[in-house]
Amino acid sequence: MGYPHKPHARETVVLSKHFGDADAKSYKGWVKRGGYDALQKAFGMDPAAVVEEMKASGLGGRGGAGFPTGLKWSFMPKEKKKAHYLCVNADESEPGTFKDREIMRWTPHALLEGTAIAAYSIRAEVAYIYIRGEFTEPLAVMEQALAEANQAGVFKDKVKIYLHRGAGAYICGEETALMNSIEGKRGNPRIKPPFPAAAGVFGMPTTINNVETLAAVPHILKQGAAWYKAMCLSNPKSTGTKLFSVCGHVQRPGNYEVTMGFPLKDLLYEMCGGVGPGRTLKACIPGGSSVPILTREETEATLLDYEGVVERGSMLGSGGVIVFDDTTDMVYQIMRLAKFYAHESCAQCTQCREGTAWTVKIMERILAGQGKMQDLDLLLDLSDNMTGKTICVLSDSCAAPVVSGIKKFKNEFEAYITGKRRPVAAD
C-alpha cells in the first residue's frame, strides 16, 4: 500500500507514525515533532546508562536475528584503546522485506538520531550507514537529511555519520560481509570469531545494527524502557512494536506496525484484507524468504514474536511476510527462491556455491517433468549438507524453503514427477 495511508485501528504506530508525512522528512519538521530531543538527552547521560536503558527495554535486533540490542552494545570494550565504529545495516535485500526502505524514505532523521545515540553509547566517533545500491530514493532522502542535520550541528562533533552505497549484493546484508564491503573488498563473510565487537570494520571494535532497531532507539530513550517493555501481547521476552512488510497474494500489501505477539491471522485477514476473492490461503513465509514455509493451519495459529513463530516451526526473521494463495505453484516458487540464493551466493564455501546451484538444477528437472522420486531425497540430503556447515547462513537460507516445502507440499512435487501435472519450462 502506498503512502499516505491511514493506519489500521489495530496498528500501534511508533516508528511508522510519520510515514506519508512529507514535512517530517526535513530537519525542521522532525524537530517540530519532538525529534532530536532523545539525542540531546543521551549526550547528557553516561554512555553506559544509555546501554542499560536499551537492555531494560528488551529491544531485540530487527534485522532478523533478534539479538538483544543493549547486550550487543555492552560487548564493546570498556576501556577504549582503539577507534570504535558503528555500522548501520540498510542493505535491506531479504525477499519479502521492505520496512527499512520506508523508514529511510519517510523518517530519515529517526534513523540518523538513533545512529547518533548508538554511536555515542558505544563510544564510536564514526558511523557508516550502508545503503543498498538499488535504493536510489532512500539514499537521496538520507543524503538530504544528513546534510540538514550536519548544517544544524545537531551531532555536536561527537559523532560523524557517513553514507556508503552498496552495489548490488544480497550477501552484504550479512554483518561481516558488509564490513568487508565498506573496506572496499568483495562482500565475502568472515569467519567468526573474532566477533565485530573485538575486530570489526578496519579491524577495530565495531557494532552493527539494523535500521529498524536504531529507529526505535530515540523513542525508547525519550519515553523510557518501561513504556517500551510494556508493549507486549504474548511472550515477555519479545517487547515493543515491529514493522511487518506483507506482500504476495493479499488485497492490501504494505507495512503494518503491530505490538509484539500480535496474531498473524489478524494481520493477514483483517488488516491486509486476506487473499483475493474466491481464493484461499495456501502458505505463508513469515520472516523473509530465508525462513521455513508455514501451511495455512500453522499460519493461522502463529503469534508474531520471536518465540511465537519458532513455536510454529519457522522464524520471525526480518518480518517480511510473503503470502501464497491456492493458485500458487509451490514447486515453481520454491525453485525461484533457490535461484535467488544461487545468484546471491558469494561462492566462498563449497556447500553453498555448489549446493544452491544444484538445488536449482534438480528443481528445474522436476518442473520439466524429468524428475525421479529419489530426487526428493537427494534435495533433502543436499539441504542437510548445506545447513550449519558454512561461514554464513546463506546456504541454510536456501535449504529452509526447500526442506519445509518438500515436507509440507510433497504432493505438488510428486505431481510433477508422476506426470499428473503438466511440465513447465523454468525460464
Binding site: 531479504e94 525477499p95 521492505f98 525461484r336
Partner: protein, 170 residues
C-alpha cells in the same frame, strides 16, 4: 589483465578523476581510515561519468587508490550493479523474485522487452536506448512489480502500464 589492446600511444584515455570528480573523490577519501575503502564510491563515480567501467578505468582507479588493477576487477565483478560493458541509455531492472513473481513480474519483463525493442534480456535495443535485465529482489515487494529505470524507482508496474512508462523515456 589486458588493459590496452592497442599499441602504446595509439589510444587516448581521458582520466575520470580530474577537476570536479577528483574533488568528489578527495571528499570521499576523508571519510575512511584507508584509501581502499573509497573503492566502491570511486567505481560509482566512474560509472556515473562514463556509463560503464572499462578495464582502463579500473586501472585508473587502482592507480589512484594504490591497489592492483586485478584487485579492482575482482571487486567490480563481485557486485552486480557495476557495468563491465556499455549498456543502453536507459537501463531497466525488473524484480522477478518470488513475491513479485507470483504477482506477475514475468509478464512485466515480457512487455518491457517488446515495448523497448530490446528483445532479449541483457541485450541492447538496436537504437542503443534500452537494456532490460531481470534482477533479484529490489526490496519493494509490497509494491509489485518494482522496476528501476536508471535511478528512477517505479512501483506497482503492470504490463498495461509499460507502454506509457517506456514513452516517458523515449
Amino acid at each position: 589483465m589486458n588493459v590496452n589492446h592497442a599499441p602504446a600511444g595509439t589510444e587516448e584515455y581521458q582520466p575520470v578523476f580530474t577537476g570536479k570528480t577528483l574533488e568528489q573523490l578527495n571528499t570521499i577519501l576523508a571519510r575512511y581510515p584507508t584509501k581502499q575503502a573509497a573503492l566502491l564510491p570511486a567505481l560509482w563515480l566512474v560509472q556515473e561519468e562514463r556509463g560503464w567501467i572499462s578495464d582502463r578505468s579500473m586501472t585508473e582507479v587502482a592507480e589512484v587508490l594504490g591497489i592492483t588493477p586485478a584487485y579492482v576487477k575482482g571487486v567490480v565483478t563481485f557486485y552486480t550493479m557495476y557495468h563491465q560493458h556499455p549498456v543502453g541509455r536507459n537501463f531497466v531492472q525488473v524484480c522477478t523474485t518470488s513475491p513479485c513473481n507470483i504477482c506477475g513480474a514475468e509478464d512485466v519483463v515480457k512487455a518491457l522487452l517488446k515495448e523497448t525493442g530490446a528483445g532479449d534480456l541483457g541485450a541492447t535495443s538496436p537504437d542503443g536506448k534500452w537494456t532490460v535485465i531481470e534482477v533479484e529482489c529490489l526490496g519493494a515487494c509490497g509494491f509489485a512489480t518494482p522496476v528501476l529505470i536508471n535511478d528512477d524507482f517505479i512501483e506497482s508496474v503492470t504490463p498495461e502500464k509499460v507502454p506509457e512508462i517506456v514513452q516517458r523515456y523515449r
